[in-house]
Symmetry: D2
Subunit: 140 residues, 4 copies
């Protein structure tokens, strides 16, 4: 499964180079991740309420072309790797005319509310299955 999120670049996200500041892309990835989880049949809010958190352990971004204010972008998100201890999401940011502007990934640990790592297959088997299903699903 891939999720698609629509984002319009905000003025506050620009910098004095006249482009979207590079630190904004991880925020957009997060919007895409939120949408992915919702599309998989859950909400991240609900996950946290159940005691499951997803802090980052690694982030990578490649900046290919700059995005600009008012650009209407599409962010695609999918799972690249999934284990009981961690999960890796990949992202692609496209312009309106389908040019790849940016790509990246985030790797997260599954933790409890105190940010201690946990085996989520064991402690959250239903969410584990949800994630697994989302990976198998083909987008029609």
């Amino acid at each position: 499964m891939r999720s698609e999120s629509k984002i319009t670049a905000r003025y506050a996200e620009t910098d004095q180079m006249g482009i979207i500041h590079h630190s904004v892309y991880p925020v957009w990835y997060e919007v895409a991740r939120t949408d992915f989880i919702k599309k998989a049949g859950m909400t991240y809010t609900e996950m946290e309420k159940q005691g499951l958190m997803l802090p980052l352990i690694e982030l990578g971004c490649r900046y290919i072309y700059p995005a600009k204010y008012e650009d209407e972008l599409t962010i695609e998100c999918y799972i690249e790797e999934f284990k009981a201890s961690k999960i890796k999401f990949a992202y692609e940011v496209y312009s309106k005319d389908r040019v790849l502007l940016n790509r990246g990934f985030t790797t997260h640990a599954w933790t409890n509310l105190d940010l201690k790592p946990l085996n989520m297959k064991k402690h959250f088997p239903e969410i584990y299955d949800l994630v697994l299903n989302s990976m198998e699903e083909t987008d029609e």
Copy 2:
């Protein structure tokens, strides 16, 4: 008492007008407020641990001259009004050569961790006294 905080404007805080984005000033006010509370003999972290929070109920900013990237600024902070139910801080942002660039205020409710308003004179008398003392102190 007045506190003084030194801030250097960050690149990420600029926008495509080539100036510091207006939404950054409330963040700088918060840095100044953090320093004020520390100077008054406490930390905001400690306050929250004791169960006391300070969510905003009002914010006001006046933008006089724009700040720019790498500008070395001084933010002065003082209490303008103090009650058992709320507190109002005032801020002045000065350039290196002492031009007033921006001024503003924030009004906060005293609440518990669930964001319910409380009478802090009654529930946190020591912090109440600390604040009161900080207002009487004259800066030498």
Copy 3:
């Protein structure tokens, strides 16, 4: 005319109180302002290209109820005051079930690209008329 913007609160916009940080509302106002200008028949990007800028001179926010992560919000925007030298926008942020969470305003100067004030009725008569029309229009 009133514009309506839909926003979903982002994780990055939360703070450790578990609510949306107060400095985010001016950013949302700006999203709403961008949408308003587009609805009025222009884009802010186009305005800047023509040499017209809208830096803030004043900002005010009232925080009534906190917004939270993943909340689906509606931001309404309209012009409260309009002159050849400045313009004042008003904003209302509503929750999904139509509770007013936050309201505010921004006042802007009309300036050239060097941020020098100008009389926009004189220098940009077409944009002046566009704004004027947008104020007269009733939303159906």
Copy 4:
């Protein structure tokens, strides 16, 4: 040469996990980079005025331990790779008691004001030498 930057984590930089949001580290890296360039005998503001820009082409971060509000951090920055077409900076974020919380890198293209790549050894030989010298210098 290594530069050292002192940063105190801001409240606005926290998220509802109670830690500093991961998108803040690239902003801190930038603060460190600004300080590095200053220590090397220049300012980034001056570089941009001369027509030289440094947009990101790649970013990487590893999150080891979370930073929290009011934490007093040290960010070390040094050049890991330097060519006429691009430059790579490395960063290490340490807690007050010298625990490595986060490490990362940014790779930048040397470009003109229109973000077109350029050979900076050829077009900005003095800045090229400055950078080269900064790499050779040993910190005492």
